[in-house]
Amino acid sequence: MKISNLTNMIGFFDFSVVEKLTVDAVKYNFVQVKVDHLKGVVSFGSQVSIWAARFGLLISMLTP
């Protein structure tokens, strides 16, 4: 998602504030977010560890 889109969605704050809140949210494991200022995008939930955990869940569900 483009940073500008996210900023428009959250009307209360500038992106700098949203970014600080995002850092806190990531710190406490509420969300997995990566901000790429070079590309101007925010990407969500792509950490390998998260996928590893989710795949473990997938396997346990498919092979009960």
Partner: protein, 226 residues
């Protein structure tokens, strides 16, 4: 009612008062307060706390905690918060807090809304990197992924779910979803992708995380086994 794992009830009430800025206790807000918060709020809601609050607060709670509006949650919450800031309530003389100024909660609610927007957007837009899944050491990752796409593809038509799978190395995954392919291409970071067209163009830009797919696959398997 017991709260063995979270401490005594009096301690819990102290934490709750701390969260509400009543400052009745000596406990400081710290990291574990997040867990207490979840437990306490659920406890109070289960006890019927919402029947005692004003309609504005009730609407706000439902918007922030229960409903799913990833695109316009902040816009929906904003007018409620404006009205909330004008509300204030005087309490009885028995209460240690003489008056409740709801406007003091607005900054915290704005932060909470931002968090909820992020959480809901994360649920809606997730790119699944195939190389990430294979790199975690699951030998049968491809088979599982293929089957999950295969099964959930059928569900997509019913639920209006759209899936985006980034596929860098293994074109076989395409075979399973050929009928659902709307478009393929290259993402900005070089990963090829396949976008599954499912049911509705309205929800075309919504992509579900793997856990959602897993849940769908699980539900589907249960249906098949019946």
């Amino acid at each position: 009612m017991t709260l063995d794992i979270y401490g005594s009830i009096s301690k819990s009430w102290a934490y709750l008062s701390e969260i509400l800025f009543f400052s009745l206790s000596v406990y400081r807000i710290s990291e574990p307060i997040l867990f207490y918060w979840l437990v306490l709020v659920n406890m109070q809601v289960a006890k019927g706390l919402l029947t005692y609050v004003s309609q504005e607060v009730k609407d706000l709670y439902n918007l922030v905690e229960n409903e799913f509006h990833p695109i316009d949650l902040a816009a929906k919450v904003q007018p409620h918060m404006l009205r909330l800031s004008k509300l204030s309530d005087k309490l009885s003389s028995a209460s240690p807090v003489p008056e409740v100024q709801l406007e003091q909660y607005v900054p915290a609610l704005e932060k909470l809304t931002t968090l909820r927007v992020l959480q809901q957007v994360v649920l809606s837009y997730v790119v699944i990197y195939y190389h990430s899944m294979t790199s975690v050491g699951q030998n049968n990752a491809h088979i599982l992924l293929s089957s999950s796409i295969d099964v959930s593809g059928g569900l997509c038509f019913k639920n209006g779910v759209n899936l985006l799978f980034c596929i860098n190395q293994c074109p076989k995954v395409f075979l399973f979803v050929l009928n659902f392919v709307l478009s393929t291409g290259i993402l900005s970071d070089g990963y090829s992708y396949v976008c599954l067209k499912c049911y509705s163009f309205r929800t075309l830009s919504f992509f579900f995380p793997l856990t959602e797919i897993v849940a769908m696959v699980y539900r589907c398997l249960k249906c098949i086994r019946r």
